[in-house]
């Protein structure tokens, strides 16, 4: 994720600061150099970095260290405040009828993002339609129509028609009844004058509420100039950063935000149509400083899970068998990739740096547990206590696992049961209200 590694390089630099409440100039300068390096490695624009680091230097030295904080904490606060500034404001995206135009460089992920965005509006209960105005790239029409078909998204396109403006006009007329219209356009870069002119023509014909600039998280220092050209040509209302599931940090896309004076609207985190998230700078910063992003987690939970999914009724009645646990495993999968879920939990998954390997292991473990449970009878699932040695052997053979794995599952179940018992008894206090709601307690 953007700046995630920045977090660790910053921590490294901050470690150099003595735990005193004075910051001497030399230390501050050293630190600023480290910060500059870290920001540049994240592809943040050089000019932005210089501005940012100057502010940090000024603030770190000038501002009084607040009582109760040491120098390290003071500087961290200053650094994160400045980072929050370059992330820009949040984008107001009302959930109502509107037209959205997608623009960007070749290969930045416009078409995939178009489908993802339509799916997002569908989940929110609106009726989106997608119009394909990419008349240039071979296969663009098929790509979008296949994506739409596979995900039940209404689609409009005219194969063979090279006039993008005409297609858009026809599409808007034809698909009047839909409330959100998303237009995918040809990929282009700032120096392709004809294509830039075409984009302006579409903009004029369409007069969209939103013009989203789609940016690859891996883009480097060119981002600034490209974004400026798009901004000057049609005006950009929001930036979408794609491909954040790799190792790219998205710093280049941040310069697009500052160049177009907009903010990050969405981030793309995978190849599937559901891999899109609304971006909220506050939540992001709090995730960065290890406070988690409960708001995003809650949104996810509310979108995808009903109390029935979690077996809430039964759990509230004090009933928690393997059946309920199975339901909960499935519910977790519905929220989204485990990795994203854990990142949203406060303190970055309880203060531990969890690696991709660990995520995969946990994910695989849950899958294995489900397979094992599939080999149990209903009676066993309802009454886990009957699982004796011979039943465990049978389940192990039936699920292609071994008895240790089955025993491990049973141990895990007992632990969960105990934890839920404690929760119900009100022994765990101080849990955030939202989190309680997640476990189905009405508050």
């Amino acid at each position: 994720m953007i700046l995630n590694n920045l977090g660790s390089s910053l921590k490294e630099s901050l470690r150099k600061l003595a735990r005193s409440n004075k910051i001497d100039k030399r230390t501050a300068e050293e630190l600023v150099k480290d910060i500059q390096r870290a920001l540049l490695q994240a592809d943040i624009n050089v000019k932005l970095v210089m501005k940012l680091s100057n502010n940090i230097k000024k603030k770190a030295i000038k501002e009084e260290v607040i009582e109760g904080f040491d120098a390290r904490e003071h500087i961290s606060r200053v650094v994160y405040e400045e980072l929050a500034n370059i992330l820009g404001r949040g984008i107001d995206l009302e959930l109502k009828g509107q037209t959205i135009m997608m623009v960007g460089l070749q290969g930045s992920g416009k078409t995939t993002t178009t489908a993802k965005l339509a799916k997002y509006f569908q989940r929110k209960g609106l009726m989106p339609v997608v119009i394909c105005a990419d008349t240039f790239r071979p296969g663009a029409y098929e790509q979008l129509s296949q994506l739409c078909n596979a995900n039940s998204i209404p689609f409009y396109g005219e194969k063979g028609n090279k006039d993008a403006v005409e297609i858009v006009k026809n599409g808007l007329k034809e698909k009047k009844e839909y409330d959100v219209k998303i237009i995918d356009t040809t990929g282009r870069h700032a120096l392709e004058k004809e294509l830039i002119a075409e984009m302006e023509d579409i903009d004029k014909a369409l007069d969209p509420e939103h013009k989203f600039l789609v940016m690859d998280a891996a883009i480097g220092q060119e981002a600034e100039e490209q974004a400026r050209a798009f901004g000057e040509s049609i005006g950009i209302t929001g930036v979408i950063i794609t491909k954040l599931d790799g190792t790219a940090k998205g710093g280049g896309a941040l310069s697009a935000v500052s160049e177009t004076d907009s903010g990050i609207a969405f981030i793309g985190t995978g190849e599937k149509v559901d891999d899109i998230e609304r971006f909220d700078p506050e939540g992001f910063i709090s995730r960065l400083v290890g406070m988690g992003d409960l708001k995003a987690l809650m949104e996810r939970v509310e979108e995808s899970i009903t109390p029935e999914d979690m077996g809430v009724e039964e759990v509230l009645k004090g009933k928690f068998t393997l059946k309920e646990m199975y339901k909960q495993f499935q519910a977790i999968n519905k929220i989204g990739p485990l990795k994203q879920v854990i990142q949203m939990i406060p303190f970055g998954g309880f203060g531990v740096d969890i690696t991709d390997k660990d995520y995969n292991m946990t994910k695989n473990k849950l899958e294995r547990y489900k397979v094992i449970m599939n080999s149990m009878t209903d009676f066993e699932l309802e009454n886990p206590s009957v699982l004796n040695g011979s039943r465990i052997r049978r389940v192990a053979v039936g699920s292609g696992s071994d008895t240790n794995e089955v025993k491990e599952l049973i141990r895990y179940y007992r632990m969960m049961k105990k934890a839920l018992g404690a929760l119900k008894g009100g022994k765990i206090t101080g849990m955030p209200k939202n989190l309680m709601k997640m476990f189905g307690r009405q508050v």
Binding site: L105, G107, S108, G109, G139, E142, H189, G220, G246, D356
Partner: protein, 354 residues
């Protein structure tokens, strides 16, 4: 293209020039006041710093003293260079060179420049440019055979596998390479190995039709190894010279998809595995090139989208981390927009006039 790097290097040369000038002035004053003890103290102080900071420092006290006192040449020390070198590092990164690579270049330049004797009035710019050029050349040098030679000498059919992350331009690049090969008189067959992404098959099919080439494809969801295998069999049966195999774009962090590539490679043993990336990528270019190289092994790269006003830093970074050559640059949307890469061409672009 490369304009930014060119400008930055000019400014670096200038600031080194300034450092030299300042040093000369400072020494002038020292001579007039004729305080030899101070000078010796200066020399030993700068030397101890040098020793601490760079082990490879080759200039001994004798050389320095000789140059300083007897020959009246200027020797650049660590402290003279700190500022300009930091500027150079920033400029490299501004030119999209990845951090570890920028650091390597800067440290080469530092090593070369420190202790460099410089006769007063000789051309500082020239010295600095040479050092910088050599350092970059060091980073991008490669002794492997050029692409055309590999094709002409390879056993037919020569199988070329194209890999890379999503949206870097693999499919378009294949079309360009196909065009180049057919223009050179080779017969080409294309394997539609991207059976995953929506529209991928139609995209490459259109290119194949336009170029009048045979395309081997299966359905979406088919095993890409099998598609490519069929294409290779077809090429063998029909006596085709080259098989160009497309694959689905994938994130280097997705271990399952990387394993799929390993399988494709194992089954089809391509003569060349080419990593396609875009010239506009920043620091991540290094990370993914490294990971693709480590997990499947690549023989070279092609950089696309250089026409998007790219600064070309990736052209320096990628050969550095992979140790493999860049074969071509993609510079536009037309099939002809493919440029053969060589070091001198790149250096000429960076240091030349235009």
């Amino acid at each position: 293209m490369f304009k930014s790097l060119r400008d930055k290097f000019a400014s670096f040369k200038h600031s080194i020039g300034k450092a030299v000038h300042k040093k000369e002035e400072a020494e002038g004053i020292e001579v007039s006041s004729a305080t030899t003890t101070e000078e010796v103290a200066n020399i030993s102080a700068s030397l101890s710093i040098d020793e601490k900071k760079t082990k490879k420092e080759k200039v001994g006290l004798k050389d320095k003293a000789k140059a300083l006192i007897i020959e009246r040449e200027t020797i650049l020390g660590e402290e003279d260079l700190a500022g300009p070198l930091w500027e150079l590092e920033i400029s490299l990164m501004e030119g999209n060179v990845a951090l570890p690579v920028a650091e390597e270049i800067v440290s080469n330049v530092r090593e070369e420049l420190i202790g460099k004797k410089k006769r007063i009035f000789s051309n500082t710019d020239k010295i600095v440019e040479d050092v910088l050029k050599d350092s970059i050349k060091d980073v991008i040098k490669n002794d492997g055979p050029p692409f055309d030679e590999i094709i002409s000498t390879g056993d037919k059919p020569v199988v070329i596998l194209f890999v890379g992350v999503n949206g870097t331009g693999k499919t378009t690049t294949i079309a360009k390479v196909a065009k180049r090969l057919t223009d050179n008189g080779y017969s080409v067959v294309i394997a539609s190995g991207d059976t995953y992404r929506a529209g991928a098959q139609e995209q490459i099919e259109t290119h194949a039709e336009r170029l009048g080439l045979r395309l081997i494809k299966h359905q979406y969801g088919a095993d890409p190894s099998a598609v490519i295998y069929d294409a290779v069999e077809h090429a063998k049966a029909k006596g085709k010279d080259v098989v160009l195999a497309d694959t689905a774009g994938r994130m280097h962090t997705d271990s399952n998809l990387m394993r799929e590539l390993q399988k494709i490679k194992r089954i089809n043993s391509p003569r060349l595995t080419i990593f396609v990336d875009e010239a506009i990528a920043g620091n991540d270019a290094v990370e993914r090139a490294k990971q693709f190289n480590e997990s499947i092994g690549i023989d070279g790269s092609i950089l696309s989208k250089l026409d998007a006003d790219a600064r070309g830093g990736a052209a320096i970074s990628i050969p550095y981390v992979t140790g493999k050559p860049i074969f071509f640059f993609g510079v536009g949307q037309r099939y002809e927009d493919l440029i053969v890469f060589d070091e001198d061409w790149l250096l000429g672009k960076i240091f030349g006039e235009e």
